[in-house]
């Protein structure tokens, strides 16, 4: 701006600074502020279950709040907070070494692979992955039986329905959200700072303590916010494994709305909850501030201790252990993330009526014991009994060997590589081996005819596409405005974005459901060929996603010099053209990153979607409705299909990005939302 101050340019941007943020302001006012305001209003009303919206607003008062201020609410809130805080700390402790290892200890190629591996498990429904943990953890499950067979355990173990299971479920689902932002922060640390520290004679540990750790602060904070806040509002994850022990405050609110239809009291609880979550964040921030103050106060003493005379640091063997230790740790964490994926895939081949209880053609009886029969009465084959399972194992091995050897044979004969052959033949052989051995169930052939699954998958992709387009459009514009035309308005917008991220999903869901019904019009009847259920999903899923896109775009542009755009303006480019030809290419990678992240978030959106959508439901909505009773194996099949489809989509995007010249690590970081 300063450069053009003396040269009036008629074609420069003349509108208000927040012009580009107008769509966001309109969108959030319509679909966030207004519905939440109504929920706040409901919280002063009285229950009246004879009406369609069971709230009587004739007699406003504080009575709901008086009732909500009960032992029950605060007990449950306290236990929610305890679980969330402890789980956040666990995520931090487990995730930090992983982020550190990926950021500093591996080559660029491995960095991309490892980052991708952190993200990949989240490409299929979180619900089925969490449910899959029931398989190894159940008391009558294989693991428990094997451990008893070999004498490690005397009795079946009993993990499901305990606090351990609660933490396992939560940490499993959130540790990725901790690793990624911390990686991004660590990755942005200028390597020269760490080198300078080393050159100046600092030991590894003091470099870590006084350079790396302080600079990783923003990433740690982002990670904590991204895990802690959704945990407070999440009341599904913990109960899948933890049963009653996973009771969260969100469940209490949910039971007011959907249990006793007491919307006013549910609203009061929701308002109180959001206030409490914000309060606990403030308390947390205050604690951090206090600790920093204390540290600064203690600084002289620490420095004196550090600069105490000591022996010349001899190159010890201990630091050499650091890298392998970190590698093992990272490997274990990745294994932890992938175990449910393997289990989902295996149990998608389950012949029995229940997803988590294995009753396939091949029994997994360890040794001793008779393999029994499948529910259809077919005798099972013991997988570890070679006399019986041998032919199958041999067939499998032969086909796999052919698949693996094929590219080399091809090369030996023709003398040339075949890229496609090398890439695909082993995979194809694996699929053939499964089909030939009759291990594939008919679920895979009939999956799209199963009630809820085919339609759910289609609905999921349609909804996620629409919502992502909205999110990228309004989020992208708003992000540019925030980065390039900041002003007083940006404080308002940032507060709004923060509120959107903080508001528990259940509150958004109820607010939106009621609001859309109130608006009517295209939200209650198909308009211009758009099914109203789909429109509801687009709007509902776009809120959180657009906030994420906005923040990513803003972060990207904030790191870039604005001189290019100014140059374009100085050279007489009209604002529209400058935007198209300069700004857009600058933010394109951020838009893609944001778009991808929002796409995966939308695919997994459960609570909002389940409350606002009608029969036009998505896969997670259908799946969560199926968890009300027994989960059939075809849900595993559907999840595998979802997984493959998402992988294919992202592989395509990665290809496009690669063509446009990004390095693989950049791509991985982009895909991971960095």
């Amino acid at each position: 701006m300063t450069a053009t101050a003396h040269v009036p340019n008629k074609r420069k941007w003349r509108g208000p600074k927040w012009g580009l943020a107008i769509p966001s302001f309109i969108w959030y006012t319509l679909f966030f502020v207004a519905p939440i305001a109504i929920i706040v209003l409901y919280s002063f009303g009285t229950k009246d279950s004879t009406q369609l919206v069971p709230v009587d607003l004739g007699n406003l008062g504080l009575h709901n709040y008086r009732e909500v201020f009960s032992e029950l609410f605060f007990d449950v809130f306290a236990s929610t907070l305890k679980i969330a805080v402890f789980a956040t700390v666990l995520c931090l402790v487990i995730g930090f070494p992983v982020s550190y290892f990926i950021a500093f200890k591996v080559s660029e190629k491995w960095r991309a692979i490892l980052l991708a591996m952190v993200v990949i498990p989240s490409f299929t429904s979180f619900l089925i992955r969490t449910i899959a943990w029931r398989i190894p953890l159940s008391a009558n499950g294989e693991l428990s039986r094997w451990l008893q067979d070999i004498g490690v355990l005397d009795a079946p173990f009993d993990v499901l329905g305990t606090k351990t299971a609660v933490f396992l479920a939560i940490v499993y689902n959130y540790v990725g959200f901790m690793v990624l932002p911390m990686f991004v922060a660590l990755d942005r640390i200028d390597p020269s700072l760490r080198e300078a520290s080393k050159d100046l004679g600092a030991t590894r540990s003091s470099t870590f303590m006084s350079v790396t750790l302080p600079l990783s602060g923003p990433g740690v904070i982002a990670g904590i916010i991204l895990t802690f806040i959704p945990m407070c509002g999440d009341y599904v994850t913990a109960t899948v494994l933890g049963g009653t022990k996973g009771l969260m405050v969100g469940a209490l609110i949910d039971s007011q709305f959907r249990g006793s239809q007491n919307w006013p009291q549910g609203s009061a609880m929701a308002v109180l909850m959001i206030v409490m979550v914000l309060l606990s964040l403030v308390v947390g921030a205050a604690l951090v501030w206090l600790v920093r103050k204390l540290l600064r106060f203690a600084r002289p003493a620490v420095d004196r201790y550090r600069s105490r005379p000591r022996r010349e640091p001899t190159p010890s063997r201990i630091p050499d252990l650091l890298r392998p230790l970190l590698a093992v740790w990272t490997g274990l964490v990745l294994l932890f993330l992938f175990i449910p994926i393997f289990l989902v895939i295996r149990h998608s081949f389950n012949d029995g009526p229940s997803f988590s209880v294995w009753s396939g053609r091949y029994s997994t009886v360890w040794w001793g014991g008779a393999p029994g029969r499948t529910p259809a009465g077919i005798p099972m084959v013991g997988l570890f009994d070679f006399a019986e399972a041998g032919p199958m194992l041999v067939r499998f091995a032969v086909i796999m060997a052919i698949g693996i050897a094929l590219p080399y044979v091809y090369r030996a004969i023709t003398g040339a590589h075949n890229r496609h052959l090398r890439r695909w033949s082993a995979l194809v052989a694996f699929v053939i081996a499964i089909v030939v051995n009759g291990m594939m169930t008919d679920w895979y052939l009939t999956i799209f005819q199963q009630a809820g699954v085919g339609e759910g998958l289609r609905g999921s992709f349609l909804a996620a596409f629409g919502a992502t387009i909205i999110a990228v459009t309004i989020g992208g514009l708003c992000g540019v405005a925030l980065a390039r035309h900041p002003g007083k308005w940006s404080a308002v917008m940032m507060a709004l974005l923060f509120l959107i991220l903080v508001t528990p999903e259940i509150m958004d869901a109820i607010a939106l459901a009621g609001w859309m019904q109130r608006i009517g019009g295209p939200f209650n009847s198909d308009t211009l060929g758009v099914p109203f259920g789909m429109l509801r999903l687009w709007v509902g899923q776009s809120l959180y996603a657009s906030a994420v896109v906005t923040l990513i775009v803003r972060a990207r542009l904030a790191g870039l010099d604005s001189s290019l755009e100014e140059a374009a303006a100085d050279l007489g480019a009209p604002p529209g053209r400058a935007f198209r030809q300069v700004t857009l290419p600058l933010i394109s990678s951020a838009l893609i990153a944001g778009g991808l992240l929002s796409f995966t978030l939308c695919l997994d959106n459960t609570i909002i979607s389940s409350l606002i959508s009608g029969a036009s439901s998505t896969f997670p909505v259908a799946l969560i409705s199926a968890t009300k009773s027994e989960i059939k194996p075809f849900w595993g099949v559907g999840s595998v299909v979802l997984f493959v489809m998402t992988m294919a989509l992202l592989a395509f995007v990665a290809r496009v990005l690669k063509k446009s010249g990004d390095s693989s690590a950049q791509i991985a970081a982009t895909l991971g939302g960095g």
Partner: protein, 417 residues
């Protein structure tokens, strides 16, 4: 390699399968009913998409298959398009909401599940006549409230001729005396199932059930995740009206359940059969049909079903009835009627019954069972003698509803400890 949709996978007897397939053969040969199949197969392009042509006349005496079945109305109307049902979890034979509906009626089905009547009402209210569902299955006492909100539409009785097959004692209930909006899907009751290897003293009453919850089974018990059902045992055991609105009674109930019972409960689980098979519980409060399914699950998981004992609640227990209804604004009203009417034919009704394990309200049901499924296992968990039925109470939706929810919430909080 087995068929995932093996129709009779559950606890169905083999003989029923043979009856069905035998009759299917007769029907293909038979003039009237055969048309329905042909039309649905798409061979007949002239009228297969024309909505609800009645292609099968009543009578069902096709080829003289059975005298008994010919005493029932067997009208099957075809329809077209898709049909969305919102119902309780795992509540219909997968075939009846899948391939068989498509081949017989010409409709493709989509099924979503809800965990409670209130959830159903919330969702229908939020959509305000635009939920997109064609069939819903509320429990009787909730129907007046749904009518008050205008959530249900009247049946076109001319499209439900098979309603004459329903035993009159399951028609004309308080909530819908003329059956203008609802017809019985099935009814059931509540009791418990326990592992007799762990709990060695037999449990015969609700008081003993609650004592076992606190005692032998402590920490390995599940209760239903349904507020009227969790307050039930206390009132039934103490001879208090289950539907009481008396504050003192409700207070005492809350105190006992929250302070003494809840800390021993491991889960609030309305469908505990998978968790039983996984080895999570030793004692579960359960609806009779789900308890019956648990036996199959235990066998699937390699356990011993014989160790498990079922008992119906005593001295009093529940009687609930779920009903097929058509919500306001249903996109495929004709299809909904056709499907509900189809479910009221004796063979489909029994086929469905064998899957979910609840009395479907057909008249002469013992004769039907004797004819169609003589060797069905554990029928004592489906059909109850008159003297037991006399101890069953129907729930009401009254001012105590909020208290019931509050008690369940408090129990959950106490169980979370």
């Amino acid at each position: 390699m087995t068929k995932p949709n093996e129709p009779m996978r559950m606890l169905a007897p083999d003989s029923f399968r043979s009856v069905l397939s035998r009759r299917a053969l007769f029907q293909v040969g038979g003039a009237a009913a055969g048309l329905a199949i042909l039309a649905a197969c798409g061979d007949d392009s002239s009228d297969s998409s024309g909505g609800s042509d009645t292609t099968a006349a009543s009578g069902g005496s096709t080829g003289g298959g059975s005298d008994l079945l010919s005493q029932f109305s067997n009208v099957v109307n075809t329809a077209s398009g898709s049909l969305a049902m919102f119902t309780w979890g795992d509540y219909n034979d997968p075939d009846i909401v899948g391939a068989l509906a498509e081949s017989t009626l010409g409709v493709t089905m989509k099924v979503d599940y809800y965990p409670s009547n209130e959830d159903l009402i919330t969702k229908l209210s939020a959509a305000n006549g635009n939920s997109g569902f064609d069939i819903v299955v509320p429990t009787g006492p909730y129907i007046p409230q749904m009518l008050e909100k205008g959530l249900l539409q009247k049946f076109d009785k001319s499209l439900l001729p098979n309603i004459v097959n329903v035993d009159p004692q399951y028609l004309g209930r308080d909530w819908d005396p003329g059956n203008e909006y609802s017809v019985c899907k099935d009814w059931g009751s509540t009791g418990w199932i326990y592992n007799s290897k762990v709990i060695t003293t037999p449990i015969t009453t609700w008081q003993e059930f609650m004592d076992a919850t606190k005692g032998a089974a402590s920490g390995r018990v599940s209760w239903l995740d349904s507020s009227p059902n969790v307050v039930g045992p206390y009132f039934w055991a103490n001879g208090i009206d289950w539907n009481t609105e008396d504050t003192a009674d409700l207070d005492a109930c809350e105190k006992y359940l929250v302070d003494e019972i809840a800390p021993h409960i491991k889960g609030f689980d309305s469908y505990p059969s998978t968790a039983i098979a996984e080895g999570q519980y030793d004692l579960c409060m359960a609806w009779n049909g789900d308890a019956r399914q648990a036996y199959a699950r235990i066998a699937d998981a390699g356990g011993t079903p014989e160790d498990w004992v079922w008992a119906l609640g005593a001295p009093e227990t529940e009687l609930w009835m779920d009903n097929y209804c058509i919500p306001t604004g249903a996109p495929n009203v004709e299809g909904a009627h056709a499907w509900i009417n189809w479910l009221l034919t004796p063979e489909i009704s029994i086929k469905d019954l064998l899957y979910h394990g609840y009395h479907s309200g057909m008249k002469d049901i013992d004769k039907l069972m004797a004819e169609l499924a003589p060797d069905a296992p554990r029928v004592d968990m489906i059909f109850f003698p008159e003297d037991l039925v006399a101890t069953m109470r129907t729930g009401e939706v009254n001012s105590a509803q909020d208290r019931h929810t509050e008690i369940l919430d408090k129990m959950k909080a106490a169980a979370a400890g």
